[in-house]
Homo-oligomer: 238 residues x 2
DNA sequence: TCTCGGATGTGACGTATATCACAGCCCTTC
DNA sequence: GAAGGGCTGTGATATACGTCACATCCGAGA
């Protein structure tokens, strides 16, 4: 078992002690054993590109550890950040199922351990284990919900501050409630937030300042403390 | 067999002579027969609301005939038109699978015949017939692709004309090639196009005029003739 | 044929935000 | 501890587009 990029490599899914909360981790023992036989485990450094928008699908990637970002780019260099996939999620599912090119580019944000399963092996797994189909369907709906939220950011907001407010509300689900409000680590730079909500980096900085001066939030690096959640909600609803 | 709203009602899927190209129509005889037993067929007038954003899911709707639009709305009255579902498509699939509220509102655009299947009946169908799972997965990926294209409209375009150009390119797939170019019936008003690409109605009208004056397209009501496809492509790529 | 309502076309105007430009800050790496 | 490179913060400016306002057109019914 080699360990490049400073991480321990977990080779077998059966005895895996990592997340266990992932879609593909929760399958029955028989299905996990079958998955073990067809997967290839490898680790990637930060910034590695798993696949590129427009490529023909080779298979699915299962994130065991680390985070991967999915982006779409235009020819002019504009970029939309569509999703940050955490450990437990699968990438390339849509393209593998429909056998159409990848819609997005996948790039690791941190050192990652990732299982790869070739397309036809994966489709066979689905056929052999209906529970695997159920799991895949869950992942598909999760991704769809994410896309819907993004359409909300981009299409239903009156102005940049409302977009940001929607984003913060969304992120708040991952946060913890302290005495003075909800504390979240956004884990994204202003530039990346800008690519999620579809505004310029400067506008994100300015809108954050605005919320800070209104005492709605306070910030420390990528950590945000939501002091006045109802004020945020009001900006989205109003 | 009654026939309200001026359409013939086709009660049984087994002998159905309608589209037959839909996801749920192409199942095996056994699966279609099972579907026949759990479905409720009804017809709706134009403008009928099948379900509303935020409602708890009751089940899935299968469009046998007619068109249904899916929209998301903000509290301020802004609306995004996310998808036009043609005959053969299913609605409410995500919510039924994940048992979370409907993300969108579904409203008929024309008189429609629609099969309804209750949530748990549908989930049982999926469990009993793996091919039905495959069919559902196909529909899920189709919807996801649509959402991705919408994110492209909203997020990756420099200006309104580029958004419209993307929309026209997309629509062109449904069009027929005549001698002078591709002829498409958009089947949407300027207002509705505006809700798809995220600009105001007036801007759609103006951008269409611009493309007309540049001899890229010509229009007659909802019919558009794309005279210069490469010019359109250039506006999207440039 | 006439009327009416919705769809389309077009002008004037204000503004939110992109863009450019640069300064200060913090974290990493040596 | 110094140097360097991202990240963040902020001002000035230009412009594309939303909004309002109205004119015109077209098709469906009476």
């Amino acid at each position: 078992m080699n360990a490049p990029y400073g991480m321990e490599l977990r080779e077998d899914c059966v005895d895996c002690t990592m997340t266990k909360s992932g879609y593909f981790c929760k399958l029955s023992d028989a299905a996990v054993a079958a998955l073990d036989r067809i997967k290839f485990t490898s680790s990637y450094p930060s910034g590695a590109v798993l696949f590129v928008e427009g490529q023909s699908p080779r298979g699915v990637f299962m994130v065991c550890k680390g985070r991967v970002k999915l982006t779409m780019a235009s020819a002019e260099g504009k970029t939309v950040l569509v999703r940050i996939c955490d450990a437990g999620e699968m990438l390339g599912l849509h393209s593998t199922i429909s056998d159409e090119p990848y819609e997005m580019t996948a790039e690791t944000l941190e050192p990652c351990q990732i299982n790869f399963v070739r397309g036809h092996d994966f489709l066979k797994l689905l056929r052999d284990f209906p529970e695997a189909y159920a799991m895949a369907a869950q992942q598909l709906t999760t991704l769809y919900r994410g896309a819907c939220h993004q359409i909300r950011y981009l299409g239903l907001s009156q102005n940049a501050t409302e977009k940001l407010a929607r984003f913060l509300m969304e992120s708040a689900h991952r946060g913890e409630d302290t005495g003075q409000g909800i504390r979240v680590n956004l884990r994204l730079t202003h530039e990346e937030i800008a690519q999620v909500i579809g505004v310029s980096r400067e506008t994100v900085t300015r809108s954050l300042s605005e919320l800070r001066s209104k005492m709605v939030i306070s910030t420390k690096g990528p950590h945000v403390l939501i002091r006045n959640k109802s004020a945020l909600e009001a900006m989205v609803a109003a």
